[in-house]
Point group: C7
């Protein structure tokens, strides 16, 4: 894998399943729909992992994001 900047890995994940972990301990699994440089992130077809609650979408505020990782 070769990327120039960290956000490139997010760019390459558009439409794929990812898990976003928040600083407050919550984790969300969903299809990566949109993001920006903070990165504020929008997932669709979302599952809140701890509670298994489903949402059509979620907006995650970038400054509360801790990490993003792929779902295999």
């Amino acid at each position: 894998m070769e990327i120039a900047r960290p956000l490139d890995i997010i760019n390459q994940s558009k439409g794929k399943l990812v898990i976003v972990e928040m600083k407050n301990g919550r984790s969300y699994k969903g299809k990566l729909l949109a993001w920006d440089a903070h990165p504020n992130i929008v997932l669709e077809e979302v599952t809140e992992i701890e509670t298994n609650t489903k949402y059509p979408w979620i907006f995650l505020r970038g400054d509360n994001v801790s990490c993003v990782k792929p779902v295999e």
Copy 2:
């Protein structure tokens, strides 16, 4: 669904029911009335979810917002 930037999902939710979760653990359900880039958010016909308290409106400071999600 197709959006260009994360805040577009908020823009498309004007007047719809959403839940806003704050970093301090509080959650508010209400009709999305106004927002900005932080995003500071104003909901109307609000219910504080944990206590079931009702308010005609609430101003939520953007830097304490963790996520926004739709009510189905």
Copy 3:
């Protein structure tokens, strides 16, 4: 209700009773006297809700504000 930006709801509340909740869990009820874009907020005829202590005024630092809501 129709407002363009979130702070408009604060602008429309000048002189009215509001409750300001701080990130550290304290809540203050009082008449909205002044505010700015952060929003730093000054209330007058204030009651600290948890302790029922009264103050003629209080200056609340904006970055510790979590939400503002009306008193009905």
Copy 4:
């Protein structure tokens, strides 16, 4: 009372007794000597309220300030 901006209430309190509450839970009572826009605050003839310790002055860093209120 009529003020234009929140910091005006601090400006009008120069030389008067105020209580400053910090985000970390400490509270200081003293005569308001100096402040700036953050607001960093210097009190003189100070009492740390929880411990009743006295100091000739104290410099309080603005980003740890939660609120300022008058002593009657």
Copy 5:
């Protein structure tokens, strides 16, 4: 060892195994793939140390990073 600025040590570690510790206590071991000035960091062939979970990559938000150290 001689470096001019702190990030140079990160620059010299491209493609090597490092451990990144986050402020929230999580630690990730992996090959350093990309970083920027914050430093946002992308690792590949990642192990979350506490849980021994494996990921092909992880994006770590810079403002939650506490330290980076080599794996020997």
Copy 6:
């Protein structure tokens, strides 16, 4: 006492004994050697108050400083 801005009280304390309290609860007593606008602070002939440990100097990062007060 008359000062124009909060940092003037720090300026007037050069070479004098002060106590610096940090947001994480640690306190340091020492001679005020240098400071800047944050205020990052360097003390010399330092005692960490809780443990009574002595250091020839300490650099204290400004954004973790909560308050500065004189030692009488």
Copy 7:
């Protein structure tokens, strides 16, 4: 000792043994290799004090640094 600005004490410590305490309570002892204005800090020949773990180097993110002090 005479220094003009707080970071000068760090400048004078290049190649010397220092202890860096982080806001999250971890402490690292090592030879000061590089730093910048935040201060992000790189130590070499490092010992994590609580666990006595050794590393050839560590990159410490400046905004998690609480203080720097010399090892005598």
